[in-house]
Symmetry: C2
């Protein structure tokens, strides 16, 4: 029997009437005699509301308790969606992450799925039921409720699709796939019908909101094709799948991340300081990226170290920053009000052309470049936060809008 | 080490500032080196809001899904309360009903606690933590989330107190104990310092909101004294405990239940109809009470059967009623818009005095009596719903306010 896994995002389930519409979409699929497991996010702004309550109580709530709190959001959605399906005459059952066998490590707020034991999901599907699963959550080997970090419902869907050996994994949201830039910022942003795993990973890590980077990594490892689509406006969709390498060199997308700070360390003890800073931030479960350490001088006294932090979803960053400065003492600078601009595409850095060109483009427009990092799929530039919108538009005009090369088809 | 179990009701936890106050109360106790386990209800009107959403979707939501939905309310409270305790520097951990070892049968929405396995609670207490437990919920042997029915958090607290062999079980709410009548209805209602288990059970079953009848039954079986008290206005409290029988004969309290309907069956097939009606209502998990069956005539053709249903918390009662009428066909009458008035006290019915007197009292005030039932602790009368307030006041004036006999002390 065909089996598909669908995931619906919070905006597709924001009100009861939307929930009813989603129930009808599911019923349509079930009527074609297809086994369907549905992963849901919390309704609309539920998670934000819960976070706001926690913040009112504590600037730094215990991570275990945050997971206990936030996991309720998906449980509300999944039980209500089951009720809506029953109203349509379908037999449906809701399962928590734990009941669905999503086993994680115990890194609360940002847990990794280490195993999926989908036995109960399989049983319920075999009994003809539609199975609704709370996304974003799992259970640790200590039997505590964990969450996978924001956007983790995508990971739940991909992990389940892999464990169930599903034919399709569909991620439905309020956008009909992946674009060459955020259509809100760039009016000419192009729909991308196919995106490779590594490009999608780079896009997600660089700030694209459509899919969670960890979910894409999971899909890549398990070779699960992800169909990113709009819940209520089907038609276009983006398939994220394995592509033969080198299909289309060049910039495929321009992505930005708006709330970035950079930590720079200097002085004779820079390497020791760097080690201390990383250990402290890890203890606070703050992910760091774009690490750049350069050891210079026989005693390392001219070494430098820097990394960036995406501060958007960090509780109490100001406090953590103060503690970090306090720990390091002299020899630390923090650059605030930055944003990151990323050009993403396969084969982008086979030569230095794009790098030179973006350098010139921003310089011609008097936009200061405060940092550059590259990977084989990406060029990222730090610019002042108040110039990021302009930078994205310029780059998209320069590379994507002017690029008449056909996107790869199926 | 002394161990106490406390339970805080929803109105004591309705807003973040109240939650902070409760955290300080808990910290005060913990500072006396007492092990403390705290059972919490959902915040304020959370449960009602969730029920309203479910009703918007379905007139008859699946019971398993209702449990999944409603159990989130307590989980929100418990994690937020833990955060507030951490802010005060206390180490606290929240546990779901399942994590706390509250094992129930699988009667969803009205599950019975069949076993408590408090090992994790004990471990966390032994580690010096304050343990916060989500009330009202458990886990069935099928590993599904169950709820204990409205007011079930009381039962969680008593069951845990028994399993932990606690010195005290305190039930804190917005009232400072048990009164001889609802103080909202009867201005002269008296505070009762001590109430026996059976009187409290009768009061709860007759409509008193302070404590859940099932919790009292549990306390009686395990001989756990319950201290009913006000969260923010300590001072007076009511102890519910074992009393030497026959201490004070007479009416101790006047209790009412405002939304009652009565089903009456008649005709030659009355006993068969009664059996059918009970089976159907049981399949819908509707509790019935005040059953009265009278077999008359050699072939039972003049038999009558009746029972009452408290309709306040029943989803889709109108639909269920229509189905019941449909199943029975001819031979069923349903009396609507009733209320039940109950006089409660030990030794109340050792003679018929009180019964005769209440009969006269209501007749003198032109209040029709539509039904009477008695137990050894209680006289209940059905009256028209629009006359219940007056009836309660009359009875309280007649028996309690005029009764100068001292209530039993400790």
């Amino acid at each position: 029997m065909t089996c598909i896994v669908q995931k619906y995002g919070g905006s597709s389930l924001a009100q009861v009437d939307k929930l009813r519409k989603v129930a009808r979409l599911i019923a349509d699929i079930k009527s074609q005699d297809i086994d369907i497991a549905v992963v849901v996010s919390a309704m609309g702004k539920t998670t934000d509301d819960l976070v706001a309550m926690a913040r009112e109580i504590s600037t730094k709530p215990p991570r275990r308790e945050m997971d206990m709190l936030l996991s309720t959001g998906e449980r509300i959605t999944m039980s209500l969606l089951c009720m809506a399906l029953h109203e349509l005459g379908l037999d449906a059952v809701s399962l928590t992450g734990s009941q669905a066998g999503i086993i994680t490590n115990d890194r609360h707020n940002d847990a990794q799925v280490i195993e999926v034991r989908p036995f109960r999901v399989q049983d319920e599907l075999a009994n003809g039921k539609v199975v609704i699963i709370g996304g974003f959550q799992g259970v640790s080997y200590k039997r505590d409720i964990t969450t996978l970090g924001r956007g983790g419902s995508d990971t739940t869907a991909v992990a389940l699709a892999a464990a169930l050996d599903a034919q399709r994994c569909e991620i439905s949201s309020d956008v009909d796939g992946v674009y060459s830039a955020d259509p809100v910022t760039v009016a000419e942003a192009r729909h991308l019908p196919v995106v490779s795993y590594p490009v999608m990973q780079e896009m997600s890590m660089a700030g694209a909101k459509v899919l969670h980077a960890h979910a894409v990594q999971f899909a890549k490892e398990k070779n699960i094709a992800i169909y990113a689509r709009s819940t209520f406006d089907p038609g276009k969709e983006t398939v994220i799948r394995r592509l033969s390498p080198g299909a289309i060199p060049g910039v495929q997308a321009v992505v930005s991340e708006k709330q970035i700070e950079r930590i720079r360390l200097y002085g004779a003890d820079v390497l020791a300081h760097f080690k201390k800073a990383v250990a402290y931030l890890e203890s606070e479960q703050i992910p760091i990226k774009e690490v750049n350490v350069t050891g210079i001088g026989s005693d390392g006294d001219r070494s430098t170290a820097s990394f960036v932090v995406s501060i958007q979803n960090i509780f109490g960053w100001e406090q953590i920053k103060a503690a970090l400065i306090n720990k390091i003492g002299a020899g630390i600078d923090i650059d605030i009000d930055l944003a990151a601009l990323s050009l993403i595409g396969e084969g982008l850095n086979r030569n230095n052309q794009a790098l030179q060109q973006v350098f010139d483009l921003l310089a011609d427009n008097a936009i200061p470049i405060l940092g550059i990092t590259t990977t084989s799929f990406r060029i990222s530039l730090l610019v002042p936060r108040d110039r990021i919108k302009k930078s994205v538009q310029l780059c998209h005009d320069r590379w994507v809008a002017s690029n008449r090369i056909q996107q790869p088809g199926n």
